[in-house]
Symmetry: C2
C-alpha cells in the first residue's frame, strides 16, 4: 500500500488535531471535527490512542454520535460507549438503522446493553429486540427493516406519487419488492424499470419473479458469497412462510467480506479477537497470551522429542546444530498448503467430492518437494560438514517431513471444517506441532539408527 | 465455514457432472450446464481438475463464453483460453464489458493477447487499447465506459423519454452523471431523485455537486477503500481536466476488497502468485519453490549460529534439547505483531504520526511478554531438568528474544512500506530470520557465558 494522498491527508489531520489538543485549542478541534464526514471521524478515532480518543469524543457533536459509532470497530466502539450515560447512548442508538443498532448492542456487556434498551422509546426498543431475536451472524441480524414494498395491482403513477409524498427513500434502494395481502414476497421491480415504465402499467406486469431470496436464518458469510457471486446490490430476506421481513444491502456485505477474508489471516496468528490496532498495552498482552501459551506447550513437546534422543545428541553435537532445519522446512511447506486450502474453502472451491483429490494432490506436492529439498540439503550438508552419511540422514528426514507436512496441511482444515472448528485457528498450531514432532523424530531417529 | 446448502448444492453438481462425463453422457452434461447461471459454471470450473475443466469447457455454449470467462480467476481463465482459437476468443472478448475485457487481456501472454486483439472488430479493439493505456491496478483499468450522461439544461421528462427509447440501461446504474458541453463532470443525480421529480424540472435543479471523484490514475486499492468508507455504489472517474471518462461500480470493488484482504495472508505464506486451488502438481510445486528456497536459506543461517557454539553444545547436550524453544516463542509473538500491523496498515490506521507510538507500544508488549514467558519457562525448565541456573539462562534469552520480536514485528512492515516493498511478503521471512538468529544466539550465548 503506497503512501497515498488519502493516507497523507489522514496523517495530517491526526497531527493537526493532536497539536491543537496539546495546545488546549478546544474550539478549533471542535470545528475541525464538525466539518469532517462521520466515517473520517471514525477513522481518526481508530487511529488514535485511548487517551486521545476520549478527548476527541468529548468534542464531537451529539448529533454525530450515531453515525460515528456505526463506523467504529467493536473494541473501539465499546471503549467509547463506556464513557456514555445510558440516556445519551439510547438517543444515539435510536438514530441508527436496525442492523447497526443490533450490531452495537450485541457487542456490549449485558448490563450496558440492558440499560440502553430500557432508556429507548417503545418503538425502537421493539425494533431492536425483534432483530436481536435472530441469531448473531444471521441474515436477520444484518438486515434492515425499512423496506419499501409495492402491491402487484397498483399502477406506476400511483407509486410515483406515493414516493414523492414519502420523500425519504432508504439509502441503497435499487429494487422494490412486491408483496401480496399476506406480506408474502411475490416478485421484485428494479428502480430503473419504474423509471422507464409507462404510468398506467401495473406493477405485476413489471415485476420479475423467481429471484433468489435469503432465508432469515442464513449465515452471514453465505449471504456474502451469494452477493459476491451474483453481483447483487441488495437482496430480500424472507422467513419460513416466505413473508418479506427485510432487505440486505451491499454495503453491509462488503464489511463481512473484508472481515471474513482477514479472519483467516488473523486466526492463523492467534489474533482472532484483536481488532484495535491501538489498544492499551495490558489489554493486548492479555489477548495474545492464550495463543503464546499454546505455542509454548507445542515448543515443549518438540523439546520432549529431542529429549528422547539425548544420548544421540551428546555423542554427535553436529546433530544439535542441524536439528532445526527439517522442522523449519516442514513448517513452511505445510503452512503453504494450509493457507491455500483454507482460502479454497472460503471461496467455496472445496467440497466433499473434490476434497479427496485435493489431499492427494498436496500429498504429491509434498513428495516432489521432499525429493527436491532432500537432494539440495543433502548436498549442502555433505559439503559443509564433509559427511556424506549425514547428508543422507537429513535427506531422508526431509522427505518424510515434507510428505507429512503436505498431508497434514491439506487434511487438517478439511477435517476441522467437518467438526465445525475454525480451521484457521486450530489448523495453524496443530500443523506446527506435527511438522516439529515428525521433523525432529525423523531426523534424530534416523541419525541414531544410521550413525550410531 | 459450516457445510451450507449452497456448498452441498455445488458438491452435488460436481458429482453429477463427473458421473455423467464418466458415463459419456455428453448431452446430459450440456443440458445441465446450459441451465446454470454463468457464475455457477465458473465456480464449477474453479473446483474441478484441469482435465475435467477441458471436458466441461467443450460442452459450454459459445454464447456463455464471455460471462463465464469474466468470473474465472486469472490462472484458471488462462488455462482455458489456451485451448481457444483466436477468433472464438475475440468473439467472447467483444461481448465483455471494458473492465473485464482489459483484465482478461492483461493476464494473457503477449502473443495470445495480440492475436486476440487483431481478430477483434475496430470499435472493440479501440475500446480495449484505450483502457489498456491506463496502468494496471488503476481506476482507469477497472472502470466501465458505458456511462449514461445527462446535460444540465434538459428536463426530467425528456430524460425519461430518452431512457425508454434506449431500453438497455447499464447494470449497477444508481446515479446519472451530469456533464457540460466539454464533457466535464459538473454534478450527479441519483436515479431515485429522477423517479420522484416533477417532469418539468431541469436536471441542474436536481443535481448535487461537490461529490468526490476518482482520478483515472488512482490506485485500485485506494478506490476500494473510498468505496468502503463512504458506502458508495458507484463513482465517477475523471481525467486531469475533469472530463468524465467512465464509472466504477461496487461489484468490481468487492473483488478488489476480498483479494486485498486475502493478499496479506497469501503473501505471508509465500503464495503471492497462486490462485488456482486445483492447479496441476508440477505447476504448484514450481510456484512454491521460491519461498521454500528462501526458507531453507534462513534455516541454514540459524544453523550457522548454532554452529558457532558447537563446543558448548557438545559439552551440554541439554542445550541442544532446549534450543528450539526460545526461537519458537519469538517467532509466534513476532508473527502476531507483524500480522496486526500489516492489517492496521491495510485499514489505513497507521500513518507517519502514529507509527512511532505503535512501535513503542509493541516494544512494551514485547517486554511484558518477555517477563511473563521468561518466568514461566524458567520454572518449567528448572523443574524438568532440576537446574536453576539453566532456568535463568533460558529466561534471560526469552526476555531478549521477545523484545526483539515485538520490535521487529512492528518496525519491519512500516520500514518496508516506506521502501515500497510488500510488507507481508518480505516481513514474514525477515522476521523469522531475526527471531531465529537472535533467539539461538541469546540462548546459546548466555549458556556459554554463564554455564561454562
Amino acid at each position: 500500500m503506497p503512501d497515498s494522498k488519502e493516507a497523507k491527508k489522514l496523517s495530517n489531520q491526526i497531527e493537526e488535531i493532536n497539536f491543537a489538543l496539546n495546545d488546549g485549542m478546544i474550539v478549533q478541534v471542535r470545528e475541525m471535527l464538525s466539518t469532517m464526514p462521520s466515517c473520517d471521524v471514525a477513522l481518526l478515532l481508530e487511529s488514535s490512542r485511548s487517551r486521545t480518543r476520549s478527548e476527541i469524543w468529548q468534542l464531537i457533536e451529539p448529533e454525530q454520535y450515531s453515525d460515528v459509532l456505526e463506523d467504529l470497530s467493536e473494541d473501539v466502539r465499546n471503549g467509547i460507549i463506556r464513557q456514555m450515560v445510558p440516556e445519551i447512548l439510547a438517543d444515539a442508538l435510536e438514530e441508527m438503522d436496525t442492523d447497526d443498532l443490533v450490531e452495537t448492542l450485541s457487542g456490549l456487556p449485558e448490563a450496558v446493553s440492558q440499560d440502553a434498551l430500557s432508556s429507548m422509546d417503545e418503538q425502537d426498543r421493539q425494533r431492536a429486540e425483534q432483530a436481536l431475536s435472530y441469531g448473531e451472524d444471521t441474515a436477520g441480524f444484518i438486515m434492515n427493516t425499512d423496506t419499501v414494498t409495492l402491491r402487484p395491482e397498483v399502477t406506476v403513477d400511483v407509486i410515483l406519487r406515493y414516493l414523492r409524498l414519502k420523500g425519504n427513500i432508504p439509502k441503497g434502494t435499487d429494487t422494490f419488492y412486491v408483496v401480496n395481502r399476506n406480506d408474502e414476497l411475490i416478485g421484485s421491480v428494479p428502480v430503473i424499470a419504474l423509471l422507464t415504465a409507462r404510468p398506467t402499467v401495473k406493477v405485476e406486469k413489471l415485476m420479475t419473479q423467481d429471484s433468489v431470496t435469503v432465508p432469515v436464518d442464513m449465515n452471514e458469510n453465505e449471504v456474502a458469497s451469494l452477493f459476491e457471486r451474483y453481483d447483487w446490490l441488495s437482496a430480500p430476506v424472507v422467513d419460513k412462510e416466505n413473508h418479506l421481513v427485510g432487505r440486505i444491502t451491499i454495503d453491509d456485505v462488503v464489511d463481512i467480506i473484508r472481515e471474513g477474508a482477514e479472519h483467516s489471516m488473523m486466526s492463523m496468528a492467534g489474533l482472532a479477537d484483536e481488532e484495535d490496532t491501538f489498544a492499551p498495552v495490558i489489554k493486548s498482552t492479555k489477548k495474545r497470551s492464550v495463543w503464546l501459551g499454546v505455542n509454548l506447550f507445542t515448543a515443549l513437546m518438540a523439546a520432549a522429542v529431542s529429549d528422547m534422543f539425548e544420548a544421540t545428541l551428546s555423542q554427535l553435537a553436529v546433530l544439535a546444530i542441524l536439528n532445526t532445519i527439517v522442522p523449519s522446512m516442514g513448517g513452511a511447506a505445510g503452512n503453504q498448503t494450509l493457507t491455500l486450502v483454507i482460502r479454497g474453502m472460503a471461496l467455496g472451491h472445496v467440497s466433499d467430492s473434490n476434497a479427496r483429490w485435493l489431499i492427494g494432490k498436496e500429498l504429491a506436492i509434498g513428495f516432489f518437494n521432499g525429493v527436491i529439498w532432500a537432494l539440495l540439503i543433502a548436498s549442502v550438508i555433505a559439503l559443509w560438514k564433509q559427511d556424506l552419511m549425514l547428508g543422507g540422514v537429513i535427506a531422508f528426514a526431509m522427505m518424510i517431513n515434507m510428505i507429512a507436512a503436505g498431508l497434514a496441511g491439506a487434511m487438517l482444515p478439511i477435517m476441522m471444517k467437518r467438526m465445525n472448528i475454525d480451521p484457521a485457528l486450530a489448523g495453524s498450531v496443530i500443523l506446527t506441532t506435527i511438522t516439529d514432532v515428525v521433523g525432529i523424530f525423523a531426523f534424530l531417529g534416523t541419525a541414531t539408527w544410521l550413525l550410531l
